[in-house]
Amino acid sequence: MTPAITADKLTKKFGDFTAVNQITFEVKKGEIFGFLGANGAGKTTAMRMLNGLSRPTAGQAEVAGFNVYRQAEKIKRHIGYMSQKFSLYEDLTVRENIRFYGGIYGLPGREIRRQEKELTASLGMEGYSNTLVKAIPLGWKQKLSFSIAIMHRPEIVFLDEPTGGVDPITRRQFWEMIYKAASEGMTVFVTTHYMDEAEYCGRVSIMVDGHIAALDTPRALKEQFGAESMNDVFLQLTRPNQ
């Protein structure tokens, strides 16, 4: 089976500054992969290259079977993206957001209407179709953004710090949606600097100063570093002298 993502010595330089330094890794199909690093470690730059938004300086990468240099537009059509900061239009209603994104993804009207019904029912949001997104609770927003990000059944969905700020039950409901999508074969790529989100991933990589400093299952990393939590692993990697 071809991996969902392969990166081989993928590099991005801005002038003299190397933001991403020869990163090499693979993400399997249906895997939940955590992509971790401190602020400024190069996560966003790496993710932008994988999303087809930024051209690498050197190295190779394929996403959903498409090459990041030659097939960037195809990549964009085969991935989903959700960020905690921005995903939905606050001044549009729930229905309008679903219809807007359905349209962007090129889904037929019938399919959009079907999903609107299914989505609001599965999220327990019946009766809120005409409510402005800014008026619904944060937990609903996050679940709705995720559902919308995978409306077009992408092969890979990229989640950028998805679960900050919600209560622990809502957060777990969100992770259950992710597990469900992954169990149906969708690949989930999570970037975050919150280490407790990392604990939920199948495997995680940790970026430090542009390179990948560690890559394994959370359990193996905790064993390797003799750490109680991913937070401890992370602190050991990023503050080795303390």
Partner: protein, 310 residues
């Protein structure tokens, strides 16, 4: 007689018609105590801190800071608290040094006079002292905001989600700074949506939907979780959650990182769980007794709250 650093009695606040931000909230923070307000977005943390900072009036109830009542003595309170709002609120176009100088002057003091208090924090900022505040990294902005909140040597610090949006390293450094400030006798009320930060406080209030679920030492909140708890994992996480919820002895089942935390209605042997899961076709089954965490406790309290409301 020593007064509490903070005292809140039955404070309520509504916005508009429907939204109840705070519902009869009461708690106290002792002098020199490091007290955490732990809860998700929308729990009422910011409303509560703004009431104590005298930026907002409660609809009902009583609140005082350092013995001063928030309505009558708001001027005194403002002079003696350090307040760090959730959004970065310093002057982006002023340099690090200019911001600090500005706040010192406003409070009729100087950087030199109270330098002792901020030295540990400010030395990390010193290399950037000519840089505009807007150009600092998240962690550095947070350190500058804390320095500015401390420059007049406040008796009480009110910090609204200081660690939101900063990475694990900066978070750890920030909590180290808070511990040092606490040792200098400053009372600190700090809010956070990150449950794992509860253990860094002396006492915490868990807050949800404007209502305090529990107030205690973090250890005691966790030890009050009295259900038998197991960490369970198998080859199929998604199905595991569903199957455990359908199990007759299950009180609750929630994903916890690589495991599912299974709380039982009453004690049963792990072998019974093992047999049930094997019967459902799971493989690579691992079942271990688990220690409850603050999140287990929070979710249990949320569940109890809902039962009461129904």
């Amino acid at each position: 007689m020593s007064t509490n650093a903070i005292k809140v009695e039955s404070a309520s606040k509504r916005y508009g018609k429907g939204v109840v931000a705070l519902d009869k909230v009461s708690f106290e923070v002792g002098q020199g105590e490091l007290f955490g307000l732990i809860g998700p977005d929308g729990a009422g943390k910011t409303t509560l801190i703004r009431i104590l900072a005298t930026l907002l009036l409660a609809d009902e109830g009583y609140a005082e800071v350092n013995g001063w009542e928030v309505r009558k003595d708001y001027r005194k309170i403002r002079r003696h608290i350090g307040y760090m709002p959730g959004r970065f609120s310093l002057y982006q176009d002023l340099s690090v040094e200019e911001n600090l100088h500005f706040f010192a002057t406003i409070f009729g003091t100087s950087i030199e006079e109270n330098y002792d208090l901020i030295r540990d924090i400010y030395v990390q900022l010193e290399p950037f002292r000519k840089r505009k505040a807007g150009k600092l990294s998240g962690g550095m902005k947070q350190k500058l905001a804390l320095s500015c909140a401390l420059i007049h040597k406040p008796a009480v610090l009110l910090l609204d989600e200081p660690t939101t949006g900063v990475d694990a390293v900066s978070r750890q450094e920030f909590w180290e700074m808070l511990r040092k400030l606490k040792e200098k006798g400053i009372a600190i009320l700090v809010s956070t949506p990150y449950m794992d930060e509860a253990s860094l406080c002396e006492r915490v209030a868990l807050i949800q939907k404007g209502h305090i679920l529990s107030i205690d030492e973090p250890k005691k909140i966790v030890s009050a979780f009295d259900k038998p708890l197991f960490a369970v994992r198998t080859n199929d996480m998604y199905r595991l959650i569903q199957d455990l919820r359908a199990f007759e002895s299950t009180h609750s089942a929630f994903p916890f990182g690589e495991n599912v935390h299974l709380a039982l209605k009453n004690p049963i042997w792990p072998e019974a769980i093992q047999a049930y899961l094997a019967g459902k076709g799971h493989t690579d089954i691992e079942i271990h007794p688990a220690q409850a965490t603050i999140e287990d406790a929070f979710m249990e309290l949320m569940g109890q709250e809902e039962e009461v409301n129904q």
